[in-house]
């Protein structure tokens, strides 16, 4: 595999604010790489530097092995990008926009091909200001796709969209991966990153605080598994708390939730106790740490709770 994006020690500041502080990472051919983090973490600045909307203060960016400061024009021929919001002229139609944007590239799909591909054929001649939010974002993806790009950069593409459209958008991104394209995605939706990304980098205050496959990040997490217990007969809260291994016990809905560092031992003790008291279990869930737990562990739940 070859790296399609190589970012080395990138720095960008606005006045006194360091938006990106020495970030380095690589995105390999054919993978979906996610930049995950809270709002203001530096994700958008990083993407804007990569696509050429902003000039980094320091560091280097290579796309397809080309240094963007020197060969940015050539690199742009091979990338597509979707910003947080894409706005076009009020009266332009998707067909006209696709034709115009396509004409900027050496290779391009015809407007009809792209309209069909993104289910916009029936809106091809509708003015932009009559499109819904979802249709506009689908058009943004279509515009990013018009030059048959090898690399697609998506900056929070599903922010503010309804769940139905978000699912459709996820399908499109997964299809791009199947087609062999490389995707760099920023998001603050943990589930989105977990569901789509082969690897993620967690960004906080302009720094990468963790990077790797989601499952490995979770496995490395120090967060204790969480247990939810609900019973038919009432359980004595104080007696439950005294069982070995039980931490952070609290009432939740019709039961209790606690965490434990020794799942098997604690659950064994719990079963013995319930059996001795002739208490029937109605619900028992054991949940390992999630990516969200990892984020809270790394960033703090004031920002990601």
């Amino acid at each position: 595999m070859s790296a399609k994006v190589v970012v080395r020690d990138l720095r960008k500041h606005y006045g006194d604010v360091q938006a990106v502080c020495g970030v380095s990472f690589e995105v390999q051919q054919g993978e979906i790489f996610g930049l995950l983090g809270p709002n203001g973490g530096g994700k958008t600045t990083l993407v804007e530097c990569i696509v050429g909307l902003r000039e980094p203060d320091e560091g280097s960016i290579e796309l397809f092995g080309m240094e963007t400061r020197r060969e940015g024009g050539d690199a742009k021929q091979r990338i597509g990008a979707v910003l947080q919001t894409t706005s076009l002229q009020e009266k332009i139609t998707p067909r006209e926009a696709l034709r115009a944007f396509g004409s900027f590239y050496r290779e391009r799909f015809t407007p009809e091909e792209v309209l069909d591909r993104f289910s916009l054929a029936d809106k091809g001649d509708a003015p932009f200001d009559t499109l819904s939010g979802g249709q506009r974002q689908r058009l943004a993806l279509a515009l990013a796709f018009v030059n048959n790009p090898e690399l697609i950069l998506l900056d929070e593409p599903t922010a503010g969209l309804d769940p139905q459209f978000r699912r459709e958008f996820h399908d499109e991104i997964l299809q791009m991966k199947k087609d062999g394209r490389t995707v760099l995605l920023t998001t603050h939706y943990v589930s989105e990153a977990e569901q789509l990304c082969d690897r993620i980098a967690i960004l906080d205050h302009g720094r990468i605080v963790a990077m790797g496959e989601p499952s490995l990040l979770i496995a490395r997490s120090m967060a204790a598994p969480s247990v939810f217990l609900s019973t038919v007969q009432p359980v004595d809260f104080e007696l439950l708390r005294q069982l070995p291994g039980i931490q952070s016990l609290e009432r939740e809905r019709s039961g209790f939730r606690f965490s434990t560092d020794h799942t098997a031992r604690t659950i064994g003790e719990l079963m013995n106790y319930l059996d001795a008291q002739h208490i029937e279990i109605s619900e028992l869930h054991i949940q390992k740490a999630t990516l969200e737990d990892v984020l809270i562990e790394l960033i703090g739940d004031s920002q990601y709770g």
């Binding site: 990338i79 076009l88 900027f104 290779e107 391009r108 015809t110």
Partner: protein
């Protein structure tokens, strides 16, 4: 998949044009507004005889100014505010391609709006502009200058209200004291000087010269000034160009390019002032401060008009400071002293308006009036010998009075008869006054347009002619033209036809 080379600028040009024609407000300001302006002008002057042809340069300038300095930057800034230009920046298209397509689209819109204005003006009586091809060149350079300025406004303004504010800051002074809406002749001296620092003045002068003047030959400086102003605006506008509304102009440190634009305007203004002091140019130009008028005393001079290039046929008098003594032609102090040598050395007959033009036309030999006006022509021929003002004792006043008979139909744009009446007057003059005296008197009348009694102009109804216009200066101007044209025929400097 299409692999043919893309023509981004061309597609962008087409998109710009399509979107413009879908925008009702844009259409209103671009096309309807100039038409309303034209109709208003016509309504305003319906009781006067100010011909449209003398003001079309001003109307076209207002159209270009509005479209280039308000319309184009409003569109560009509004698109930038929406984030459209930011999206463009993600693509390989260059700044120059995008700017060129925006400017070219606006130029095409302006030229069609200008054509519409000219066609409508002709529909309500204006004759065809005298130098149509030169008018295209002048129009292009005026558009170039104002589009450059529009690009600078688009670069400076952070939002659409700022465009309106900045545009009006340039638009209104240019209209009022820049020689666009208010003629330079009506402005005080300081405003005339100030106007040379605004491109509006050069725009009006160069356009007007092509419409009813002598073409671009007399407005080379104006055209060069417009080119310089346009080039500085385009370069500075491209250098200061902003893709993103988040990039505030004040924080970008690009204001040095604004200095380049202002310095160019200042340099053009200073050059205009220097040029105005050069005697040869002073005699060719048509604005106060560069007086080109043949009259002896400025206090009684005829106000300059778009036709003053023709008045420059007469060299400045000896005592005019603009004329160096060694080159000064001799001047007689009485009409009886005038010699043909004096006339030849002082009058350049080549600079007179052509006989086939709008101003002071004379029918060529072999062309007869239409049957519709034969009775009117015959009435003039029959009544002119007995017309009292044509028989006054003072020969100079008599010639002057008879010249009014030729001048008034021209000012009134009485197209069917205006080119024949001067010939009737000429015949009458030749019958009444000996040739040598007539030569002297015609010259005398021409170089003293503001002298004499003009009440004869109010006695033309006896000849079956219309009321004279209230603007007596215009009539006196035409008296000068016709006097010189008849004089040229008498001394063999002008061949009829």
């Amino acid at each position: 998949m299409d692999s043919t080379p893309g023509r981004g600028w061309w597609e962008q040009l087409l998109v710009n044009l399509r979107l413009y024609f879908r925008n009702r407000m844009g259409m209103f300001y671009g096309y309807l507004f100039p038409v309303i302006f034209l109709i208003s002008f016509r309504v305003l002057y319906r009781y006067e005889t100010v011909p449209m042809v003398r003001h079309l340069g001003q109307l076209l300038t207002v159209t270009i100014l509005g479209g280039a300095c308000l319309g184009m930057p409003t569109t560009m800034v509004s698109e930038r505010e929406r984030g459209v230009w930011r999206r463009f920046r993600l693509t390989p298209i260059s700044t120059s391609s995008l700017v060129a397509s925006a400017i070219l689209a606006r130029y095409l819109i302006l030229i069609t709006a200008g054509l519409l204005q000219i066609v409508l003006a002709m529909g309500i009586g204006m004759p065809l502009p005298r130098h149509s091809l030169s008018l295209c060149l002048a129009f292009t350079l005026v558009a170039f200058a104002f589009l450059g300025l529009g690009l600078v406004i688009a670069a400076i303004a952070d939002n659409v209200p700022s465009v309106q504010a900045l545009g009006q800051c340039i638009f209104l002074p240019m209209l009022i004291i820049g020689g666009v809406a208010v003629p330079l002749a009506s402005l005080p001296g300081w405003a005339v000087t100030l106007s040379s620092f605004f491109p509006g003045r050069y725009a009006v002068q160069s356009l007007q010269a092509c419409i009813d003047g002598v073409g671009t030959g007399s407005s080379r400086f104006d055209l060069f000034a417009l080119f310089l102003i346009g080039a500085s605006g385009l370069i500075a506008g491209a250098k200061m160009f902003r893709w993103d509304t988040q990039q505030r102009f004040a924080t970008l440190g690009r204001s040095k390019w604004l200095v380049v634009v202002i310095a160019t305007w200042a340099a053009v203004g200073v050059a205009a002032q220097i040029e105005a002091r050069r005697p040869d140019l002073a005699a060719q130009t048509a604005v106060p401060g560069r007086s080109a008028l043949p009259v002896v005393t400025p206090a009684t001079s005829v106000p300059p008009s778009a036709s003053d290039d023709a008045l420059s046929a007469i060299a400045p008098p000896e005592n005019t400071p603009a004329s160096p003594p060694e080159e000064s032609p001799p001047r007689s102090t009485a009409w009886q002293q005038v010699t043909v040598e004096e006339i030849v050395s002082n009058v350049d007959f080549r600079k007179l308006p052509p006989d086939s033009g709008v101003v002071s036309p004379i029918a060529p030999p072999g062309v007869n009036p239409s049957a519709d006006v034969l009775d009117q022509i015959n009435t003039i021929i029959e009544t002119l010998p007995n017309w009292p003002p044509g028989n006054v004792a003072d020969p100079v006043q008599r010639v002057r009075n008879l010249m009014y008979v030729a001048a008034v139909p021209d000012v009134l744009e009485s197209e069917d008869i205006e080119s024949f009446v001067p010939l009737i007057v000429f015949d009458r003059l030749k019958q009444d006054i000996p040739k040598q005296d007539l030569i002297r008197i015609l010259y005398w009348v021409a170089i003293h347009p503001s002298e004499g009694d003009d009440t004869a102009a109010n006695q033309l109804q006896a000849l079956g002619l219309g009321n004279p216009p209230p603007d007596s200066d215009v009539v006196r101007e035409r008296v000068t033209f016709y006097s010189l044209k008849l004089l040229g025929r008498l001394i063999g400097k002008i061949s009829p036809g």
